[in-house]
Structure formats: structure tokens, C-alpha cells
Symmetry: C2
């Protein structure tokens, strides 16, 4: 895996892919959840907002450790990702059941997911809207990509068990006259 | 246009498409902005979070009226959408410049965008994190789709002037064992 500069992190979240969230609470096995309700909130430091609440088993670990990893799967992992979203870490050792490899992160206790396209080590920075909306703000403090990986397409949840796979890329950089620094 | 039940609204936001936001302040021409930082936050009532701040010309109108429309463009509108994101409503009459048709909404003062795939009439319901993160929570109070429209594909911003167009649809409903009610 290769480190990704933190000012590029928003580019991984902005397209809206399905992601995994890993957590690790002291003395317990690490866990994974599937997340589709998230957004980019800032360039640098890279902030990511998400809806994770008490109804998610991962919530307690995230609140207790204030750390997690957001891992972005390629579409080749879609069946595993949906499976992960349809069982609970309370009953299932998800890394083992879905044959995914936890790797030690550098700045957080939660593990990276070796098989994913990218991994973002995150710290919880704001929980003001947690009680009202289940909304949490994370800051990515270290980012990794997997450039040698063959399948680089992500996928997007339609909320009904169907998903849109990335199709062709449209290049409209020539129209970015107001923000040439991003192109 | 056909009304969409409000419990289906999250399905339009969850995949993470590029959207337009229309606003209309009394006595001024309606305006449009391009938005790529947003997320689904609740099923019913449908809540949508987004980053829109004082750096956006639309922000003042949205805060003053507490209303907007989120319009979801098809990929055939991509050049217009990027153009809209690269100029300001302070100088440009965007509906006119980009040849888009404002239609009266039913519950809000901001106009629908006739050419879009779907339109969500929204009210601002929470601005607690506005000052700190530019984060606003909207509630969709009426929703419309355009089922006869030929091009139904949306597109996703990579944050660098390139976009991913929706590709094929992956059907994994059989794996949604925990949430059969959504499939």
C-alpha cells in the first residue's frame, strides 16, 4: 500500500462509494460494518461525516476508542460488503467469516482492510449531532491506496439491494475555470 | 413529473450523485448551485445533510427562506452542471444562461428544475453545525421524478473535474437477509 496525501482524501469520499468501517475495541476482536450514508465535509484536514448510531454494533467501539478506519472496497468485493452489512459483529467474526485481512494501521487502533482499494485512518472529532441524527464527524489522519490492485471500480448503493457500478469517466476539467487548482 | 413517496427519497441520495440546489429569495431571480458534498441521514422523514456555507452565494437565500430544491440531473446535463458550479449567481442568471426551466414547486418557494431526473422540495431543519462545518440538515417534504425521461443515469464527482458515470446495475437483493423490507 502507498500513502495518499491527506489533501486527496476528499476525492475518495465525494463520489459516494459504498465503504467499510473497521473498529477495534481493546480485548475484543476487530469488527467491520458497511456504510453508505457519508459525505466529504472539508479538504484539509479531510473531514468525513457519517450516520452511525446506537443501532449499529460498531457504534460503541467507535465512541469508546474515538477511532476507526474507512476502507473503500472495489466492486469485486461487493458480495462480501453486502454480507457484512447483513450480519452483526456481536455474533460474527466478520474479518474471518468474509476472509478479509486486518492489517495494523499507523495512527489508530482499528485495522486496515488489506483487500480494499484505499484505507483512511480516522479519528472522531465531533459528535454534537449524534443523539439527534446519529451523525458523526471523522477526520482522516493517514490515508493509504493500493495502486497495483487490478479492479479499481467502486460501487454505489441504491438502498434496495441493488448497486450502481462505476461506468466510464467523464473528463470536464476544461470547464473547471473557477477551480483550476483542483484539476 | 410524477410524485415519489417520501420513503423512497433516500434512494436518490444514497448513491451519491452530483445534484443541483435551487433557491429563490423574494424579489430576486432564482438561483442554482452544484452540490457534491451531501448524504442521506434518515428514511422517514427523509433527511439530507449537506455542506453549503457562506462561501456559496446560495447560502444566504437558503438561510433566509429555509427552503430549497435538490434536483438530480442526468448525465446528459453534466456540462451544464459543471458550468453552474463554476460561476456565481451574483453575476449570472443561471437558469437563463444554462437554459434550464424553473417550475413552481408545491411546498417551497424555490423552483423545480424541469430537465432533471428528480426534484426534492426541502426545508432546512437543523443548522447546529453550520458555523463549525458548513453543515446543514434538510428535510424533503415533497418529491418528484421524471420517469419518461430517456437518460436515467446519474454521475458522481471525483473532485478533480472528472466524473464517474453510472455503469451497470448489480442486483444483490438475495443477500439482504437482514433487511428484506428494503428490497
Amino acid at each position: 500500500m502507498r500513502t495518499l496525501p491527506l489533501d486527496k482524501v476528499f476525492q475518495l469520499i465525494e463520489p459516494g462509494p459504498v465503504v467499510l468501517v473497521s473498529t477495534a475495541r481493546k480485548g475484543r476482536r476487530p469488527n467491520l460494518m458497511t456504510l453508505t450514508w457519508h459525505l466529504a465535509m472539508n479538504f484539509t484536514p479531510p473531514l468525513i461525516g457519517c450516520v452511525i448510531g446506537p443501532w449499529d454494533y460498531s457504534y460503541a467501539a467507535l465512541r469508546a476508542t474515538r477511532e476507526c478506519v474507512i476502507a473503500i472496497p472495489g466492486v469485486d468485493l461487493a458480495e462480501k460488503v453486502v454480507g457484512i452489512g447483513n450480519c452483526s459483529g456481536q455474533e460474527v467474526d466478520k474479518f474471518r467469516a468474509f476472509r478479509l485481512t486486518p492489517l495494523p494501521a499507523e495512527k489508530v487502533c482499528a485495522p486496515l482492510v488489506a483487500e480494499c482499494l484505499a484505507n483512511l485512518e480516522c479519528r472522531l472529532v465531533d459528535a454534537t449531532l449524534s443523539r439527534k441524527f446519529g451523525f458523526l464527524v471523522l477526520e482522516a489522519v493517514r490515508a493509504w491506496t493500493h495502486p497495483g490492485r487490478r479492479e479499481q471500480r467502486t460501487f454505489h448503493a441504491n438502498g434496495d439491494g441493488t448497486f450502481k457500478v462505476d461506468g466510464r469517466t467523464l473528463n470536464l476539467k476544461k470547464l473547471m475555470t473557477k477551480y483550476p487548482e483542483f484539476t
